[in-house]
C-alpha cells in the first residue's frame, strides 16, 4: 500500500514536470500565434492575452505583400536539392567509412569532426571569390553545393554510426551472390537504413530551410531568395507592424513544421538507432 501511494505521488510530480516543460516549449509559440491573429490596436493594448477578434487577414496580407510565394518555391528547391545531394554523397561516404575497413578511415572521421569546428564566417569570403569566378553566385545550384559541403560532415558522422550497427552478414550475403559493393549498398543496406536516412533527411532539410547567413551572402537577386532572407527583409519593412511580422514568420516556418509533424515518429526512431555516439 505504502509503496503504491509513494509511487503515485512521485507520478504526480513527474507529470507536473512534463507538463511544465511542455508549457515552457509552447508559451512563446502561443505568444507568436496569438499576436499574428490580432489587429494592431488589440495587439498593442493587450500583448499577451488571447485575440479579441481573429484577424486571419494578417496572414493573407503577409503572404501577398510579402511576396512569399517565390521565396517558398526557392526554399523548397534548396531543401530538395540539398537532401538529394546529401543522399548521393554523404550517405555513401558514411557507408564506406563504416563498412570498408581502411586505415585512413579514422583519419577521415577525424577530418569530418574537425570540419564541424569551422565557423561559417571563416570560409565565406574566399569561397565567394572562388564561386564568382565560376558563375555560381546568385545561383541556387551554387548554394546547394555549399549546403551539401557544410552539412555533410554531421550527416556522415550521424550515418556512419548508424551503418556500423547494421550486421555485416547482410552485406556479405549480397556480395557472395555476386553483387558489387555499390549494389550491396543500394539494394540491401540502404533500405534497411531507412530510419537513419529519414533522420538525416529531416535534419538536413531543417538546416537548409533555416539557414540565413549563406543565402544572404551568395544570393543577390530577389527571384532566387529563400524564405529566411525574405523574412529578414520584411522585418525591416514592417518593423512597426508586429502582427504582420508574426504572421509572416509563422507562415515561413510552416512547411518545415509540417514536414516534422509527418516524420517525427520515424525521426525519433532513426535517432534512437544512430545513438549519436560519433
Amino acid at each position: 500500500m505504502n509503496r503504491t501511494r509513494k509511487s503515485s505521488s512521485t507520478d504526480y510530480v513527474t507529470r507536473f514536470v512534463l507538463l511544465f516543460l511542455a508549457l515552457y516549449a509552447l508559451f512563446p509559440l502561443y505568444i507568436a500565434v496569438s499576436a499574428s491573429l490580432k489587429s494592431r490596436a488589440d495587439l498593442f493594448a493587450n500583448p499577451l492575452g488571447l485575440p479579441k477578434e481573429l484577424y486571419l487577414s494578417n496572414y493573407a496580407k503577409a503572404f501577398e505583400t510579402g511576396n512569399l510565394k517565390q521565396a517558398f518555391f526557392n526554399s523548397s528547391l534548396l531543401a530538395a536539392g540539398t537532401v538529394l545531394g546529401i543522399l548521393l554523397t554523404a550517405i555513401p561516404a558514411a557507408y564506406a567509412l563504416a563498412k570498408i575497413p581502411l586505415k585512413s578511415n579514422s583519419l577521415l572521421v577525424g577530418y569530418y569532426f574537425f570540419c564541424t569546428t569551422i565557423p561559417q564566417q571563416l570560409f565565406i569570403i574566399p569561397l565567394y571569390l572562388t564561386f564568382s569566378r565560376f558563375g555560381l553566385t546568385n545561383s541556387l545550384l551554387g548554394l546547394i553545393l555549399i549546403y551539401i559541403a557544410v552539412f555533410s560532415p554531421f550527416s556522415i558522422l550521424l550515418m556512419r554510426s548508424y551503418f556500423v550497427g547494421i550486421p555485416n552478414e547482410l552485406i556479405e550475403a549480397a556480395l557472395i551472390d555476386g553483387a558489387s559493393m555499390f549494389q550491396a549498398f543500394w539494394r540491401v543496406v540502404f533500405p534497411v537504413a531507412r530510419p537513419g536516412v529519414i533522420t538525416t533527411v529531416v535534419i538536413v532539410s531543417m538546416w537548409s530551410w533555416n539557414n540565413f547567413l549563406l543565402p544572404l551572402t551568395f544570393l543577390n537577386q530577389e527571384q532566387v531568395m529563400p524564405v529566411t532572407v525574405r523574412l529578414g527583409m520584411l522585418m525591416g519593412k514592417w518593423s512597426a507592424a508586429w502582427e504582420l511580422i508574426m504572421a509572416s514568420a509563422i507562415t515561413g516556418a510552416l512547411p518545415i513544421a509540417i514536414l516534422f509533424a509527418l516524420l517525427h515518429r520515424r525521426f525519433i526512431e532513426g535517432l534512437a538507432s544512430t545513438g549519436l555516439k560519433g
Binding site: 514536470v17 509559440l29 507568436a32 499577451l48 555513401p92 569546428t117 533555416n210 516556418a253
Partner: protein
C-alpha cells in the same frame, strides 16, 4: 575505433579496398575540401596579413594575433563565450536528461514532438518572437516593466534563455532515443532491489547513455564558440558590448572596421577552441573505452 571487419572484406587486398571505397568517399570529400577546407585555409593564411578587404594584403606575421589578444573587447567576448559554453553544457543538458528520463518512465510520448518543436524553427523567426516577448513597451516589458535585452547585466542571459528554449528539445530527443536502446531487464533488475527513481537514473540510464551524452557535450562546446545568428537578430552584441561574442566580433572586425586580417585571426581562434573540444572528446572516449 574501426567497425568490425566483414570476413569478405578482410580478405580483400588493400588496393582493392581502395578501389571499392573510392567512389563512395570521393564525391563528399571533394566537395568538402573544395568548399570548406581550401577557403578556410585561405582565411588562415590571411590571418597573417593586414588587409582592409579593399586594398592589397600586406604580410605582418603574427601581429594580428597579438593585436587581437591585446584588445579588451576580444577578452570580453571570449569571457562571454566561456560563460555561454558553461551555461549550455549544463542547463539544457540537465533539462534534456530530465525530460528524457521522465519520458522513458511514463512513456508519455505525446510530449516528445512538443519539446522538439521549437528546434525546427528558423532562428530568424524565433529571434523575432523573443525580441517581441522581451520588448520593454509591448511584450513582457509592458506587463512587468522589465527590459531583459536592454540591460547589460541581463542581456546575455536573456538570449541564452531563449536559445535554451529552442535547443533543449533536441537534446531531449537525442537522450530519449538513446534510452530506448537500453535493455529493459536492467531496469527490472534494480527495481526488484528496491531502487528509487533517482537511483535508476544514476546507475542505469546515465552510464548507458554516457557515450551519447559526451558526444552531445562536445558538439555543444563546438557550437557555443560559433554562436552568431542568435546575437545578430536580437542585440547585435549590445547593449554596452554585453552580448559581444567571438563570432559577432569577427563580423564587426571584417565589415565595420576593415580589418580582415584580425577577423581571420579570430576565426582561426574560434576553430582552435572547437578543435580543443574535439580533442577533449577523443580523450574522454578513450578513457571511456578503458573503463
Amino acid at each position: 575505433m574501426l567497425p568490425p571487419l566483414t570476413r569478405n572484406m578482410r580478405k580483400l587486398k588493400k588496393s582493392k579496398k581502395w578501389v571499392a571505397a573510392f567512389p563512395f568517399l570521393a564525391p563528399a570529400l571533394i566537395l568538402n575540401i573544395g568548399i570548406i577546407m581550401l577557403p578556410s585555409m585561405a582565411t588562415v593564411f590571411l590571418a597573417f596579413f593586414e588587409w582592409s578587404g579593399l586594398d592589397i594584403p600586406q604580410f605582418v606575421g603574427i601581429r594580428n594575433f597579438v593585436t587581437v589578444f591585446a584588445d579588451p573587447l576580444f577578452l570580453k567576448s571570449l569571457t562571454h563565450n566561456i560563460v555561454w559554453t558553461a551555461i549550455f553544457i549544463t542547463v539544457p543538458v540537465a533539462m534534456g536528461l530530465a525530460g528524457a528520463e521522465l519520458l522513458r518512465r511514463t512513456r508519455k510520448e505525446l510530449f516528445q514532438p512538443i519539446y522538439f518543436f521549437p528546434v525546427i524553427l528558423p532562428v530568424v523567426v524565433i529571434g523575432l518572437i523573443w525580441r517581441y516577448i522581451y520588448h520593454p513597451t509591448r511584450g513582457l516589458g509592458k506587463v512587468f516593466g522589465v527590459s531583459p535585452l536592454g540591460q547589460p547585466s541581463t542581456a546575455l542571459y536573456a538570449i541564452a534563455f531563449a536559445n535554451i528554449w529552442a535547443w533543449w528539445g533536441f537534446l531531449c530527443a537525442v537522450f530519449y532515443s538513446a534510452t530506448q536502446s537500453i535493455s529493459k531487464d536492467l531496469y527490472e533488475a534494480v527495481k526488484l532491489d528496491g531502487a528509487t527513481g533517482w537511483q535508476e537514473f544514476r546507475y542505469i540510464t546515465l552510464p548507458q547513455i554516457a557515450p551519447t551524452l559526451i558526444f552531445m557535450e562536445v558538439m555543444t562546446i563546438i557550437w557555443s564558440f560559433q554562436v552568431f545568428d542568435w546575437i545578430w537578430v536580437t542585440t547585435q552584441g549590445g547593449p554596452a558590448g554585453s552580448t559581444e561574442l567571438l563570432a559577432t566580433l569577427l563580423y564587426k572586425k571584417a565589415f565595420y572596421a576593415y580589418k580582415m586580417g584580425e577577423a581571420s585571426a579570430i576565426g582561426v581562434l574560434i576553430s582552435l577552441f572547437g578543435f580543443a573540444g574535439v580533442g577533449l572528446y577523443y580523450y574522454l572516449s578513450q578513457k571511456g573505452m578503458e573503463v
